[in-house]
């Protein structure tokens, strides 16, 4: 799926770090930058970026979502690719941002151009860069949680698993309900905590049954949600973003 208009110079990649990574898991951003650089890509972090606008969009505040999303059309322009360590925020940039500007042709064109260049990390590595061998080691039994937007908005299913399979020492264990929502859902987790927790408990029960010592996903939202419950319960299961596991060596928590 390599783009037809491939530039004859190192690819310039903009990292859209996402607000969750920025504020709560900066180590995921660092791991992503280092991973992309190891693959020979020129990585920039346009510092005017903040958020993709999804919290407002999902809550129905489209006017506010538009104001925030509109900035990204300019901030992220001019790069060969935009790489996002989140399926959910990629879905916002790729699927929902063009919808937000559908009634303004000039902005809609910009939004579509951005959408066409924007990739979630695992998708970018496998489909665009064509990574077949990653030099990474990780000692542990890993269960993979397929985040909803990554799987069902972007259709990215096998890519993260293919990357995990390349990590030396990593044992990927199957988990029931791997593709079931963890109950995060952004503000849903705050507005409907009991429902959210019921979903979360089912997910964590499946994780326990899988016998994994590490849970990996491609979305920091899910990871913060799952880790928050595990921490409350005092469980020692590690919760990591894919980018962290793809480092040359991954430290324990």
């Amino acid at each position: 799926m390599v783009s037809q208009s491939v530039p004859q110079r190192p690819w310039r990649v903009a990292l859209f770090a996402t607000c969750l990574v920025d504020a709560f898991c900066p180590e995921v951003g660092e791991a992503t930058v280092r991973l992309l650089r190891r693959l020979g890509l020129q990585v920039d972090f346009p510092q005017a970026q903040t958020c993709c606008g999804q919290p407002a969009f999902n809550a129905g505040f489209r006017h506010q979502a538009r104001a925030v999303a509109r900035r990204n059309l300019e901030i992220l322009a001019g790069y060969d690719y935009v790489v996002v360590p989140s399926g959910s925020c990629t879905a916002m940039l790729r699927c929902f941002t063009p919808e937000l500007f559908a009634d303004t042709p000039a902005l809609a064109a910009q939004a579509q151009a951005l959408a066409a260049r924007t990739y979630e990390l695992s998708e970018f590595l496998v489909r665009v860069v064509g990574v077949e061998r990653i030099e990474a080691t990780f000692a542990g039994k890993v269960a993979y949680h397929a985040s909803c937007h990554l799987l069902r908005e972007l259709g990215v299913k096998e890519e993260p698993r293919r990357l995990l399979a390349q990590v030396q020492g990593l044992e990927l264990v199957p988990m029931e309900l791997a593709e079931q929502c963890c109950g995060f859902g952004g503000t849903f987790a705050v507005k409907y905590p009991t429902l959210s927790d019921a979903m979360l408990r089912k997910k964590l029960a499946a994780l326990q049954r899988a016998g994994a010592d590490t849970l990996v996903s491609c979305d920091s939202g899910c990871l913060l949600h799952l880790a928050g419950r595990l921490h409350r319960q005092g469980e020692g299961i590690r919760v990591l973003h894919l980018a962290q596991v793809l480092q040359p060596t991954t430290e324990g928590p």
């Binding site: 709560f24 650089r37 104001a67 109950g183 409907y192």
Partner: protein, 479 residues
């Protein structure tokens, strides 16, 4: 049916505490979900069929007026009668008038969500008619004085033991939990009523414009008995049940039964094309079809139209992590699950059902399961936008999103805000976690710890170190 949509949160929390319900829901999920997946996979061309089914419904709904008129004209040529009901009250009135006109005393009913929607049973009973549900699940909940909790499995919330006790109490039969015996008990009771009834009321799974036929899809044969034994057959259909041509039916049937129960085809598929003809040996003397709007024309707007493609197969309920946890009654009206969260606010009003579109993570499992690929998450998003546009959200939420949007448009201030938050949280943070958040975020920490804001956010790390590192190791990648 009493509307209890406003109490969604309380209902849901009660459902989560109900151990019997939770067992029933686990059984439902373990049974229905794999059956559908296996059946769809066995089809070999499920994707193609779903696309085709969606196209058929899209065509039908795009020209709803034309196809409904064609259906009505054909049915009248065949000797049937068509009645148009704008709302539930009008539909009830039409049906009661028919009952009076034909001197009806006893009514048998096939399973029909449309008649649940218009609360028909209670109305007819008030008018002095004896009304009996003949679908086994519907019969059980009628005996129990309850409402359906699932579109195709109305009594799914009840255990075998509860039903055994119910039969023993209400029918005076010896207590038995043996399922074949229990079905025999129901069958014996129902047969009597079929033979005595003067009016059969059924729903409609599909109405074919081209031929004026109505199609009933059942597994117990009760739809066929209800529509053939009594002298009067009244079928109640939501106006969206129309399909253009007879040739469309095989595709629709395939996606419906495979999605609903994982069956290649249901035990009975009944095509009814007019009332009894002179040469027919059986069938009702009169056939009346009530076409129900009851708010559906409001859904015809381009952005919500696809909700009218729904076949009422229930597949979206079975895969929905919300439905799986709270069951159907928590939704508070006839249609539960993701499709209910869309239809209910549209049919009864956003005011009465504001929780339903919000109580979803937008995970998309419903869209993946839908036989006509209804984009339910987008419909929910549309309704949430409507809630904001019509000022049906709290002032606190409104203020928070205004502040949020402002901050997100000012990256420097945003960076400072992160540092300020990291500083302010220091007295409360323990090894990078917060145990309690203040309102309105307290919901999170009811069950989960919250990750403290990083003392060095990513933008700071980029600025201070990362950006100077540059490419290291590996070859430079050219296009």
């Amino acid at each position: 049916m009493r509307l209890a949509t406003e109490a969604f949160v309380t209902n849901a929390e009660r459902a989560l505490q109900d151990a019997t319900l939770q067992q029933a829901l686990t059984r439902l999920v373990n049974n229905f979900v794999p059956r559908r997946l296996e059946a769809m996979a066995a089809l070999g061309n499920a994707e193609e069929l779903r696309t085709r089914a969606r196209e058929i419904k899209a065509e039908a709904i795009a020209h709803l007026d034309v196809y409904l008129e064609q259906f009505a004209a054909r049915l009248q040529q065949l000797g049937g009668q068509v009645h148009w009901a704008d709302d539930a009250a009008e539909a009830r009135q039409i049906i009661a008038s028919l009952a009076a006109q034909y001197g009806v005393k006893r009514v048998v009913k096939g399973k029909s969500m449309a008649t649940e929607e218009i609360d028909l049973n209670a109305f007819l009973e008030q008018q002095g008619y004896e009304v009996l549900e003949t679908d086994l699940g519907e019969y059980i909940i009628q005996l129990a004085g309850e409402t359906p909790s699932h579109i195709i499995a109305p009594a799914i919330h009840k255990t075998r033991q509860q039903i055994a006790a119910l039969f023993h109490d209400k029918l005076g039969v010896p207590y038995t939990e043996h399922i074949p015996e229990m079905t025999q008990i129901a069958r014996r009771t129902l047969r009597q009523h079929f033979l005595q009834a003067d009016m059969g009321i059924t729903g409609v799974n599909f109405a074919i414009a081209e031929t004026g036929s109505i199609v009933l899809v059942t597994n117990e044969g009760n739809g066929r008995l209800s529509s053939t034994l009594p002298r009067l057959h009244v079928a109640v259909m939501g106006m969206e049940k129309i399909i253009p041509r007879l040739a469309d039916l095989p595709v629709m049937l395939k996606v419906l039964t495979n999605s609903a129960t994982g069956q290649k085809i249901s035990s009975y598929v009944t095509l009814i094309t007019g009332p009894r003809r002179a040469t027919d040996l059986d069938g009702p003397e009169a056939l009346h079809v009530v076409i129900l709007d009851n708010g559906r024309t409001r859904l015809l707007h381009e952005e919500t139209r696809e909700a009218l493609y729904c076949l009422r197969c229930g597949a979206c309920l079975n895969v929905c992590p919300i439905y799986q946890n709270v069951g159907g009654h928590a939704y508070g009206w006839v249609y539960p699950g993701p499709i209910g969260a869309v239809l209910t606010p549209m049919l009864v009003g956003l005011d009465r059902a504001a929780h339903l579109p919000r109580a979803s993570t937008l995970c998309g499992a419903c869209r993946e399961a839908c036989p006509v690929k209804i984009d339910l998450p987008r419909l929910l998003l549309h309704l949430r936008h409507d809630l904001v546009q019509t000022r049906r959200v709290s002032p606190v939420e409104r203020l928070l999103f205004a502040l949020w949007a402002w901050l997100m448009q000012h990256p420097t201030l945003y960076g400072w805000a992160l540092r300020a938050a990291a500083w302010l949280q220091t007295p409360f943070a323990r090894q990078g976690w917060l145990r309690r958040l203040p309102p309105p975020f307290a919901g999170w920490t009811q069950f989960r710890d919250f990750r403290a804001v990083a003392t060095r956010p990513f933008r700071q790390r980029w600025q201070e170190t990362l950006r100077h590192e540059g490419a290291s190791g590996g070859e430079t990648r050219h296009g």
